[in-house]
């Protein structure tokens, strides 16, 4: 074969572009456009909120993040806007929510993918998805009317039992009412369970049959199979599901506003009333003006930043774990 030989006429036919090329182009522009649109919206939200919040940032400086006092109408002197108490409230109520929701969700998802008889799966999934469809204000009202009063004796009992122990005592402190961090966390747990469940269920169901067979063929029990084959395969997906749940918990507004108690408070006591950033915004926005409004918008910016930060962290964790799994990291 000689290299100088040109294949006859091949050039013209290969460079021909049919109508299929147009479809491809439209498709690629469309997907690129929608992708960029999301970025643009995110960027615009960030820019406009920071601009609106600027008077507050300007007045408070970094103290906006480190100050725990929130006093829009002081008897004397300038108003003080510190986000720290509310950031704490957001963090602690979301953490409590995950603490309860994650084990429950993973359990439900495992039950649905590995244990439940086939005919039970459909209805069970529907019921759980319905839980996600309940409006959050309904959860909030249920929390304030039913859960908060009903939990008071439980909280009281926990305080009586653990209150005297050094570290636990400060966590299970005195109970003033049923509206506190703990109740907010519990309501949030119920609200995020459907999301985490449905995503972890999807993730678990993508574990290859071959991996489960491998474990079973080694004499694994069902639980050993789940630990050896299902969990390592699902780590990234489960973290993703938890992050989505956390995002919802941190951003949840009305349900938290109703049950968290409405106090500006940083304390280890889970039974103390507090407030979260989203809840403060919805409670106070209507009566605010000027710098006060800017400060509330500032809370939104902080919440936004916290959510983004946590998601980036989680993605790093997942990427590292997956890289280790694929062998590119020792």
């Amino acid at each position: 074969m000689t290299l100088t030989n040109k294949p006859p006429t091949a050039r013209s036919t290969l460079s021909q572009r049919g109508s299929s090329a147009l479809g491809d182009r439209v498709f690629s522009w469309w997907t690129l456009g929608t992708g960029l649109l999301v970025l643009a919206i995110l960027g615009l939200i960030l820019i406009t909120t920071v601009r609106e919040a600027w008077p507050a940032f300007d007045a408070m400086g970094l103290r906006f993040l480190t100050e725990r006092t929130w006093d829009p109408n002081p008897a004397a002197g300038d108003a003080i806007f510190g986000a720290l108490s509310f950031a704490f409230g957001t963090a602690i109520s979301s953490l409590i929510a995950l603490l309860f929701a994650v084990p429950v969700s993973v359990g439900i998802a495992l039950f649905l993918t590995e244990l439940a008889p086939r005919r039970l799966r459909g209805p069970a999934v529907t019921v759980i998805d319905l839980l996600a469809a309940v409006p959050s204000v309904v959860f909030g009202l249920w929390g304030i009317l039913v859960v908060a009063p009903a939990m008071v004796p439980v909280y009281q009992w926990l305080h009586d039992v653990f209150g005297g122990i050094p570290v636990l005592g400060s966590i299970f402190g005195p109970v003033s009412s049923g509206r506190n961090f703990m109740t907010a966390g519990l309501i949030l747990a119920i609200m995020v369970t459907p999301i985490i469940t449905s995503i972890t269920r999807e993730v678990f169901s993508t574990v290859p049959r071959a991996d489960k067979d491998a474990a079973l063929a080694l004499g694994a029990t069902r639980w050993e199979m789940i630990r050896g084959a299902v969990f390592p395969h699902s780590f990234g997906g489960v973290v993703g599901a938890v992050m989505l749940g956390l995002g919802r918990a941190m951003g949840e507004t009305i349900a938290v506003a109703l049950v968290i108690g409405g106090a500006t408070n940083i304390t280890a006591n889970l039974f103390a009333p507090g407030n979260s950033m989203a809840a403060v915004i919805v409670q106070q926005f209507g009566e605010s003006t000027g710098t006060f409004t800017a400060a509330l918008i500032g809370l939104g910016v902080v919440l936004f930043a916290m959510t983004v930060l946590i998601n980036v962290l989680a993605q790093t964790v997942v990427r590292r774990a997956e890289a280790r799994m694929k062998g590119s990291v020792a």
């Binding site: 067979d213 491998a214 080694l218 084959a229 395969h233 799994m325 694929k326």
Partner: protein, 285 residues
């Protein structure tokens, strides 16, 4: 010989290598026996009436065209069909004389004694070490884990290639190495029988040759049953061969059936059944 112990879970491996013969001469000590075994998926009878022995420390090959039920029968030998909804086995599959499908038999114990290697290499997404150690850990095998892992990897002819990267992910290995890792993982828990479901179908010829050599080595300690679509492979590695085919009965229902079982040399040179002859000479399938 540990024979009546499938109902409980001993914490220490009960392993009894039988004969020493790893030669070509077939022995005649059945470790397993199938009697009139049929496998159903729901109401569909996938394989009908299989009767054959599995001889100790020998390689038994199952060959036949696609859909003849050879893999289905293989999975029935260690109850791997159990997790499939609607799967059911009739007839008797006995292991040292004990019916594997008896009510009080624990399938987990069965699989511990009768291991399996699959078509596609399926190491866990963990380190090489943890892949082999997984079975040891869940079976509570005593002694130093490192020693057991090394022993298993050595037996699977993989130790020299991986000894410096035991903590690296198993998924970074080549396909052939992954399959040998799966074999190491299986022999680490010291089963008596190893079932192999087309173990080389995803591998290149060199990797295939390595696995075939390995099978030959392993017969000194283990009994091997291999499903293969590759007749030459069956002829090369096995002492006994079972030929399955797919038949259509009077009601137009397709099902798998064992046509002929005999010593490999005989089956390939002087088959008793016309259908076997047609298949091995390439006139069918």
């Amino acid at each position: 010989m540990a024979s009546n112990n499938l109902t409980t879970r001993p914490s220490v491996a009960v392993h009894a290598p039988g004969g020493t013969a790893s030669g070509v001469e077939p022995t005649d000590t059945p470790v397993m026996q199938l009697r009139d075994v049929s496998v159903y998926y729901g109401s569909y009878e996938a394989v009908r009436g299989t009767t054959m022995p599995i001889q100790q420390n020998q390689v038994t090959a199952m060959i036949g065209p696609s859909g003849c039920g050879k893999s289905t029968v293989l999975r029935a030998l260690n109850r791997m069909n159990d997790p499939i909804p609607g799967a059911r086995v009739s007839g008797e599959v006995s292991f040292h004389g004990q019916d594997l499908y008896a009510r009080d038999v624990d399938p987990i114990q069965v699989r511990r004694r009768i291991g399996m290697v699959f078509q596609k290499p399926n190491p866990f997404p963990k380190s090489i070490f943890d892949n082999v150690a997984y079975g040891l850990r869940i079976n509570g095998i005593k002694g130093r884990l490192d020693d057991h892992v090394e022993e298993a990897l050595t037996k699977a002819a993989l130790w020299d290639e991986v000894k410096d990267k035991l903590r690296k992910s198993a998924l970074a290995l080549s396909g052939g190495q992954q399959q040998r890792l799966c074999i190491a993982r299986t022999i680490a828990v010291k089963p008596e029988v190893i079932l192999m479901d087309e173990p080389c179908s995803a591998l290149d010829p060199i990797a295939t040759a390595k696995i075939e050599d390995l099978m030959f080595e392993l017969t000194s300690d283990y009994t091997i049953v291999i499903v293969t679509h590759n007749m030459q492979q069956a002829a090369r590695v096995s002492h006994y061969t079972a030929f399955f085919t797919a038949e259509v009965d009077d009601k137009q229902v397709r099902h798998g059936r064992l046509v002929e079982f005999s010593q490999t040399g005989k089956l390939f040179t002087n088959p008793a059944d016309k259908r076997t002859e047609d298949y091995i000479t390439g006139r069918f399938g």
